[in-house]
Point group: C2
Chain length 204, copies 2
DNA sequence: CAAGTTTTTTACCATTTGGTAAAGTTACGA
DNA sequence: TCGTAACTTTACCAAATGGTAAAAAACTTG
């Protein structure tokens, strides 16, 4: 990896992706300190120094994951359309969040790990990227409430509760699996419940 | 600590408590692997071998914490009274959960860490202790719904959503602090919001 | 296909970390 | 108050872990 300015080769792109994929699963379940370079190397069929060839340190892998994750993660929130039907827009947002919990539980857990531990590597990112978006969307929701389109409440806490409930299904999956062993219709049940719940909350 | 059968001395009780208190904070913020014996020793003003004198290993401290935590943690759920007024009972439960998030965020985060990482040391405990209680309380709630006292829905997902929303305030505090910087009335706002929200959901 | 560049592998190292051995010190009941 | 059991401290150690050096292999390009 001589010239960092040059655009990455095919092998570089592929291998970085393999590393990220392996590291994502491990960081998500064992946390940053709980994951070793050897584990990551094993999981993606490489040798430890090879990882360091592509990422200068273990922390660099972690940071790269968090950064790429943040973008994907915030997309749904950003795509709420202020011109659309309020109840529809929020419901669509909730549906996408549930879908993401179902399809990308590793990402959800990586994020959860980071935040539970005080966001040591993400606080700046939260302030510069998440905060402005959050404030903007709170404004949109507040306007909808003012217009009487949905029930009046604190938009910030509404968003928190949506995050809490939807991400819970990914982050606390281990617990849910114990309490609701019938694996088949669990996901459908969850999605129906959550939608119903927020419809009740939001009805003007 | 010669005779393990004998009841613990005053010093033993005190020092074990000091260790648990220090370890709780560290495990909660850095996770199990992220916390070192030296850190714990530092935090409670002891030397590392002294910890091992009281607990046979780092893992033993962690397990002891999780076990004692579980009991306290489940108390509120257990104290829902099937004879009481349904809406009152559930609201009281929610209030106690919010209070616990506010007063014992370390415990909440310790638990969150453990579950997010797949509950490696707690799965058996979840199955033997939490599951039966959960099923019992689901039954109580189902009966209330059958009697038309509260709105009809899946009691399991209702409990999940209560856990999700209430614990979110402790577990994701780092994020909330960024998004809602006005520290003063945040807690009141959260408690009012959550109560209002579930009242709407539960109204028959 | 030859020369140079990128990528992989082997061998290694310094630090950290969980834990031990054993000597030294304190508390406490007879 | 004296002897013994409980507790603390100092000095260690072996394994694990993040990372490096450098040679070997593979790939790219003129």
């Amino acid at each position: 990896m001589n010239n960092p300015a040059r655009k990455p080769s095919r092998i570089q792109t592929e291998n970085r992706q393999r590393i990220r994929d392996a590291a994502l699963g491990l960081f998500a379940t064992h946390g940053f300190r709980g994951t070793t370079l050897d584990q990551i190397a094993d999981a993606c069929g490489m040798h430890k120094p090879n990882l360091i060839y592509y990422y200068e340190s273990k922390e660099a892998i972690h940071i790269d994951l968090l950064n790429t994750l943040m973008e994907e993660w915030l997309n749904p929130l950003d795509s709420m359309n202020p011109e659309g039907d309020p109840l529809e827009e929020i419901t669509a947002y909730i549906r996408r969040k549930m879908e993401m919990s179902r399809l990308y539980p590793r990402e959800s857990r990586l994020f959860a790990n980071e935040i539970v531990q005080g966001a040591p590597r993400m606080l700046p990112h939260l302030e510069t990227t998440l905060k402005p978006l959050f404030d903007k969307q709170c404004g949109i929701i507040a306007k909808w409430m003012n217009d009487g389109k949905i029930a009046e409440m604190d938009p910030a806490h509404l968003i928190f509760s949506i995050w809490a409930v939807t991400q819970h299904y990914a982050d606390f999956e281990a617990q849910i699996a114990v309490l609701l062993p019938g694996d088949d219709k669990r996901e459908r049940g969850a999605e129906q419940f959550v939608e119903m719940m927020f419809r009740k909350v939001l009805m003007p």
